[in-house]
């Protein structure tokens, strides 16, 4: 390895290597690999491009990045589980600090109180937001949060029949099925009301069986329709099953918390809370439940304890649930989680505070209402369902959504998600539109204008 050859991030000089080998009485690096069968080894080098200098790498990655259109060069009304709320600059500045970014899981609490503290405050904050105090340090994303929660209800109730609303994101349903297939859980789908787009509560009641562990639903659901969580909670509790609600965390700036409305386990995709869209990830899975169910939570939990001097300290607790202790009996396999994104969510909520958070929710809702009214005033355009919405709504168009979107794209507008993209079986004239606080009235008016023209073509 001549000195001038690129060696990535390696730190030894030839002399260092010789010195270290010498200290061990070895001659070559090969002497360290005597246990590795020779004939299986890679012959020469891997077939990978030669090392790039930093400037070559930067240029290459910029070229790739530059080939993507984005929500900053387009006016975007995309939602469908990931939302373009503003991400305050403080979050990036703090979450990328080396101490946070390059630390491991806080297994050594004495060296990691800073990390344990933000995780603990994250748990407290999510507990408040969702009205359910038992919260873990996060799971992978909203969909896996729902899947993990589904299994929790099976563990808690000892039953393996699950009801799910047909109106959850199709992707969430797929993940749920993928997670539960091996667990021997059967899943049955509860219909939505054709008029309102809300859960058909009669059908829900009918579907509940003695073996049913829980009903899983989503609000706002995949039509953007806000469910009546109190009513659903009542039905479930009356008929002796648990319920799990997946939702959009910002909604609770305006609505009561799930825990105050009869929800047993609330899960959220935390992305709207200060995470960049990142072409889909990493995002943040949040699970909150009642204290009595805490022992069934997946993943890490930070708790208060003491140090040798009797002073307050924080540490990972209740590890008897986890894979490294309980192994095949663990509540979940999750080990690495989304800690750095939990930090982002906590910073986001700390920056906004009570008022700012409410305002984000309200602005999003009001702007969505403004756009909805103007768009449905266009000939032939109407909402698919009559149920209430938050900041996302589903429209019937007089033409295929894909055609309208293609026209909008020419004007650098991502006009929404054609329902067929989320659900191949959906009618091709349905369009799902999301609005956040970041859109100005001028943006919305511009959208209306271009949209109306596109409908007429």
């Amino acid at each position: 390895m001549p000195a001038d050859i690129l060696t990535g991030y390696n730190v030894h000089t030839d002399a260092d290597r010789a010195k270290m080998l010498g200290a061990m009485g070895k001659e070559t690096i090969a002497d360290l690999f005597t246990e590795v069968p020779e004939h299986l080894r890679v012959d020469g080098l891997l077939d990978l491009p030669p090392a790039m200098t930093e400037w070559q790498l930067e240029r290459h990655i910029r070229e790739l990045a530059g080939r993507n259109d984005t929500t900053i060069d387009h006016l975007s009304f995309l939602g469908g589980g990931a939302y373009e709320h503003h991400v305050p600059a403080v979050i990036d500045a703090i979450a990328t600090r080396g101490e946070f970014l390059t630390a491991y899981t806080p297994y050594q609490p004495e060296m990691a109180q800073g990390i344990l503290r933000f995780l603990h405050d994250f748990q407290i904050t999510m507990g408040r937001l969702l009205g359910l105090p038992a919260v873990n340090c996060s799971v992978y994303d909203g969909a896996t949060a729902l899947a993990e929660s589904a299994w929790m209800t099976c563990r808690i109730t000892g039953k393996k029949h699950l009801l799910i609303a047909e109106s959850i994101w199709v992707e969430y349903q797929t993940v749920l099925e993928t997670y539960l297939r091996g667990r021997g859980v059967t899943i049955e789908v509860v219909r939505s009301d054709e008029e309102s787009g809300q859960i058909d509560s009669d059908h829900l009641s009918e579907c509940i069986q003695s073996e049913t562990s829980a009903f899983l639903f989503q609000s706002p659901n995949r039509y953007g329709v806000v469910e009546n969580m109190t009513q659903i909670g009542n039905i479930c509790h009356d008929q002796g099953i648990m319920n799990v609600m997946a939702s959009y965390p910002i909604l609770f700036g305006l609505k009561k918390s799930p825990g105050d409305s009869g929800v047993d386990i609330a899960v959220c995709e935390g992305q709207p809370l200060g995470m960049h869209l990142n072409a889909g990830g990493p995002y943040l899975g949040i699970i909150a439940t009642k204290t009595e169910f805490e022992g069934h939570l997946p993943g890490r939990i930070v708790g208060e304890c003491n140090d040798l001097k009797g002073e307050d300290a924080l540490a990972l607790v209740k590890e008897e649930r986890e894979q490294h202790v309980a192994r095949h009996e663990a509540t979940s396999h999750i080990c690495s989680n989304q800690a750095n994104l939990a930090l982002r969510a906590l910073i986001y909520l700390s920056l906004l505070g009570e008022r700012g958070f409410r305002n984000v929710a309200e602005l999003s809702a009001r702007k969505a209402r403004y756009l909805e009214q103007r768009l449905t005033a266009v000939e032939g355009v109407s909402r698919v369902f009559s149920g209430p919405f938050f900041n996302e709504f589903l429209l019937n168009l007089p033409r295929p959504a894909a055609d309208v979107l293609a026209t909008l794209r020419e004007q650098k507008i991502f006009g929404g998600i054609p329902m067929t993209q989320l659900d191949p079986e959906a009618p091709d004239n349905q369009l799902l539109i999301a609005v956040t606080e970041t859109k100005s009235q001028a943006d919305l008016d511009h959208m209306v204008e271009v949209f109306a023209a596109a409908i007429e073509i």
Partner: protein, 486 residues
């Protein structure tokens, strides 16, 4: 002292962010949203701080954390190598960060191209034929791989329900297997630190779907019998799963695919240098041999008409393990890492990782004898039994000297069999220089010397950390560490 909660700094009515739009009046009723009684009528109880107070709170919290950026972090099995800053910067470019996953696929060609090239890079490094980047972490990669295995047997019409797992396996292995509905059978470790072949063969029957192993194992040893094991597994119609958490020991030198593994996952946050983030996010790409490719979760990114893009037309797929396409922001870093190293850099990394571990093992040998005589790979397991203090106390004293403790039973996510109670698993990684290693070695020696003369100093350590020794949380560990009486 543990730092204060942000709630202690909350001031009612304060908001660090001004959220307003003069075209849209706020504060009126929004009664079309839900029944009036379902509208929020009480505050949530969020922290209320000005922007500067938020910045100060978290800046100061960060100063009570220790990352690779702060100093040596020889935490065994965790591969705490340097996380290149250029990767952070490039991963956060707006062209990725501001892209919405539901954008039309043809507006994200840079993303698909990157993922496709990264898949190929990982396939080349691991010797597999196809890779999915969807899994969010190592455990998730395992889960994906095991689902693929399960599907394989379903397709064959076989109902194999057993997964064999060595007792040294990481806890996620049995946990993931259980999630897939498999039954775990645990194979003991022999006195050479390798999988007990006899026991393995005893357990091998037609219910065995596969064997899941880490190679090198979490004892830092290369499984020398791997060829034989692969042969026996395949002869039995079973599949061989590779837990790639320890790939850093062999990257560029020997490939799981060439050793006979059918399914693998890797942890980008270990081998491929993506940051651990205080616990996550990581990424756990899963690779398979060609015959298993149809089962990889939907979508896979692959060229259609020459242009890489997500392919959703996968009737045989196991489903989906999470939303969208994986941890893009993490995966960009992994891709950058491979490119910045090139094949020589990657191979050198492996050599140096193994060199460093053997050097530590050798230099500490008189104090902390190696549990096993052979060469270790990227990490070494040293025996603390001859110390005057408990290993769990010993390592806490290292904190006072700026060294992150190595992995002990429980104090990390690795499980060791009982006989290794006092063992320490040390993984220096290749990015520690010999100066840094000598520093770490000296701190170990310093603590060992102190143990002989002032064990109390060690039993009550750390003395210079934010808190004294935290005691409460050992309870959970104790249950496996001390085999409680009750």
């Amino acid at each position: 002292m543990t730092p204060d909660s942000i709630y202690t700094k909350s001031r009612p009515g304060v908001s660090g962010a001004s959220i307003v739009d003069h075209d849209f009046a706020l504060g009126g009723s929004l009664d079309d949203l839900c029944a009036p009684e379902d509208l929020r009528d009480q505050p949530i109880g969020l922290p209320e701080l000005s922007e500067i107070d938020v910045v100060r709170h978290f800046t100061n919290l960060s100063r009570q954390a220790h990352g690779v950026d702060n100093g040596p972090y020889p935490l065994g099995s965790c591969t705490m190598k340097y996380n290149p800053k250029r990767n952070d910067k490039l991963a956060m470019l707006d062209g990725f960060g501001k892209a919405h996953p539901h954008q039309p696929a043809d507006t994200l060609s840079g993303v698909w191209d990157l993922l496709w090239k990264l898949q190929n890079g990982i396939a080349e490094i691991t010797g597999m034929d196809a890779v999915t980047l969807q899994p969010a972490a190592g455990a998730h990669g395992e889960f994906t791989g095991l689902l693929v295995m399960k599907k394989h047997f379903e397709k064959l019409g076989e109902k194999r329900k057993t997964i064999l797992i060595p007792d040294t396996a990481h806890g996620t292995n049995p946990a993931s297997a259980a999630m897939c509905g498999f039954t775990c059978r645990i194979i003991p470790t022999n006195d050479k630190g390798l999988m007990d072949l006899e026991s393995f063969e005893e357990h091998l029957n037609d219910d065995v779907a596969g064997l899941m192993i880490t190679n090198p194992s979490t004892l830092g040893l290369f499984e020398e019998n791997i060829e034989l094991i692969a042969e026996k597994i395949h002869d039995n119609g079973s599949l061989l799963y590779y837990d790639g958490a320890n790939l850093n020991a062999i990257m560029g030198l020997i490939r799981p695919g060439d050793m006979g593994f059918d399914v693998i996952h890797i942890n980008t946050h270990k081998t491929l240098s993506t940051p651990h983030g205080g616990g996550g996010p990581g990424a756990g790409p899963c690779g398979v041999k060609k015959f298993l490719e149809p089962y990889l979760p939907t979508p896979v990114v692959r060229p259609v008409d020459g242009i890489p893009q997500p392919d959703y037309d996968r009737p045989e797929a196991v489903g989906k393990v999470k939303t969208f396409f994986g941890h893009i922001e993490v995966l960009i870093r992994a891709y950058c890492y491979i490119l910045a190293n090139g094949p020589i850099g990657l191979k050198t990394a492996t050599e140096n990782a193994v060199l460093n571990a053997n050097y530590m093992k050798h230099q500490l040998g008189d104090l902390l004898p190696s549990v096993f005589p052979q060469n270790c790979m990227h990490e070494c397991l040293l025996h603390g039994g001859s110390l005057e203090v408990r290993g769990a106390d010993f390592v806490k004293r290292l904190i006072d000297f700026g060294v992150h403790p190595p992995t002990l039973v429980g104090a990390g996510c690795v499980h060791f069999a009982e006989e290794f109670d006092e063992a320490m698993l040390i993984e220096p990684t290749e990015t520690e220089s010999v100066v840094s290693l000598d520093f770490v070695i000296e701190q170990f020696r310093k603590v060992a010397r102190e143990a002989a003369v002032a064990p109390y100093m060690i039993e009550t350590a750390p003395h210079h950390a934010s808190t004294a020794k935290v005691i409460h949380n050992e309870a959970a560990w104790m249950s496996i560490y001390e085999e409680p009486e009750d």
